[in-house]
């Protein structure tokens, strides 16, 4: 039911300013990025001067030179998404069903760490898990870790950092969809002699799927493009595609390659996301 205004123009008037803004500062830049991605350096020009030559070879070169970083980005992002799902699901479940009157407070607490700058938290992890923190010396003295092994500067640290940083993006949609489940459906399942586990598997999980889809997307997408975790917690061996794009822009001033890489990243993510939504929408994942 909506308010029926006589003019059909109203929604368009409401949309116009926002969409004009998004067209200018989102769509246009993406179109421009596509153009930049096929430019080549002007012969004899300064660094950073390029001309339009429709050099689609930029894509081939950009991809071939950075296959490893591309693969790493998608593997790290997938792992971080799976870990975040594994950690967040029981947490969201507990808040939705087992927290009683503390529900709102707990929900605030899930988002609260998010308010301390995400860089500060990442650096805090680096120091906690680093050589001078208390974790590594303790593990070493207990001989649970070799004297030469470290936690920071490894891919483990990068994936752990991403898992931690994107956890609220996973928890909130999961909570939202779990909270919406009508408790009578769960009772009904019990009345039909399903035990707790069967009820969880056949009723709760399928009903929470929209939250799973939203949460995994909200985690995977920023994780795949992230370079902050990799540069703070990682080493040159854990460089992700974001690190490459960043250095192409700022250190090497190679805009076409950076643009081609950005475009490839975006296209890859959009294709994956579309496939994923289709699959999640039509088939049951369980």
């Amino acid at each position: 039911m909506s308010i029926t205004l006589p003019k059909v123009r109203v929604p368009y008037l409401l949309l116009f300013p926002g969409f004009a803004f998004l067209f200018t500062f989102f769509i246009l830049p993406i179109v421009n990025l596509a153009q930049t991605s096929t430019q080549t350096p002007i012969a004899g020009g300064d660094t950073g001067q390029y001309e339009q030559t429709l050099a689609f070879s930029n894509y081939v070169n950009a991809f071939l030179d950075n296959r490893e970083q591309f693969a790493r980005s998608f593997i790290y992002a997938t792992l971080a998404t799976l870990f975040a799902l594994a950690i967040a699901y029981p947490l969201a479940y507990a808040i939705a069903f087992k927290s009683g009157k503390f529900k709102n407070i707990l929900l605030v607490l899930v988002v609260a760490p998010f308010f301390t700058s995400f860089l500060l938290r990442t650096i805090a992890w680096k120091q906690i898990l680093g050589e001078e923190g208390f974790v590594v010396p303790t593990l070493r003295s207990l001989h649970l870790m070799g004297q030469q092994t470290t936690i920071t500067s490894t891919s483990v640290a990068v994936v752990a950092g991403m898992t931690y940083n994107f956890l609220p993006f996973m928890t909130l949609p999961l909570y939202a969809s779990l909270e919406r489940i009508d408790p009578r459906t769960i009772e009904a399942s019990g009345d039909l002699y399903a035990n707790g586990l069967t009820t969880f598997r056949r009723v709760t999980v399928p009903l929470s799927l929209p939250g799973v889809v939203a949460g995994t997307l909200l985690t995977f997408i920023p994780a795949a493009g992230d370079y902050v975790n990799a540069s703070i917690l990682g080493s040159p061996n854990t460089k992700m595609i974001g690190n490459v794009i960043e250095s192409r822009y700022f250190k090497i001033v190679d805009y076409p390659t950076a643009a081609a890489l950005s475009f490839t990243l975006m296209a890859a993510i959009l294709i994956l996301v579309t496939l994923y939504i289709r699959k999640a929408g039509t088939e049951e994942l369980v």
Binding site: L15, P17, T116, Y255
Partner: protein, 278 residues
Amino acid sequence: MSSKIKDATIPTIPFKARLSRWFGRNLLRIYMIFGFTYLFIPVAYTFAFSFNDSGKSNLIWKGFTLGNWQNPCGAPQICDALGNSIKIGFLATTFSTILGTMIAFAIGRYQFKGRSSSNLLIFLPMATPEIVLGASLLSLFLVFKINPGFWPTVIAHVMFCISFVVVTVKARIASLDPRLEQAAMDLYANELETFRRVTLPLVAPGIAGAALLAFSLSFDDFIITNFNSGTLITFPKFVYVAAARGIPAQANVIGSSMFFLALAIVIAGQLVNRKKAR
């Protein structure tokens, strides 16, 4: 009384069984404690090290001091960076909340041609990695010979905040009971009055939530800002640059203050809501 009867009817449950039953019942609660501990470790660390008498590099615990809290601007540039972040945050929040709320009402309240493509246009910026948003906007500014700096950063922040505002406000609009508006109309309120006196107050918590979200996204953003701010220093940029040589404890002071401030705002909001509900 009843517990005594219970004790009488089930006289001896072996300790082990009782323990495992207790665990079975409280497993999720125990898990919650671990989960929240994990979430708060770096926050607690940041807070603790804001009291570190560390000088310039806040890496190792050197002793307790209140000096950093008494002098939060003690580190060079840190308060300029903070000021910039707050200014950008306010501007980005204002513009994105206005634009996003309008879009949310259009999509949430009207059936019109192009509604599904409108939804797509809102979804796309969220499905685009930040680095692509930042890099593409920078390319555009370079084409038009606009130097990165304060306003380009504000524009960039408005751009990525709009979608989050739309999604948040739209969810609130969708959860409204349409009968409330019908009732207002039945009581001879015209459309404008209905909107102003019924719809808007009901959607207001959603708008406030969206604004808070937009501010925290803007304030905390590093990647897009890094591309579009040029030499302007924001708080996250300050932290990132300082990280290479150890961040000053004042950064921990500011990070912790933001945490407590945001917590206070959210809790105050909840209390207001509860009062209204009563």
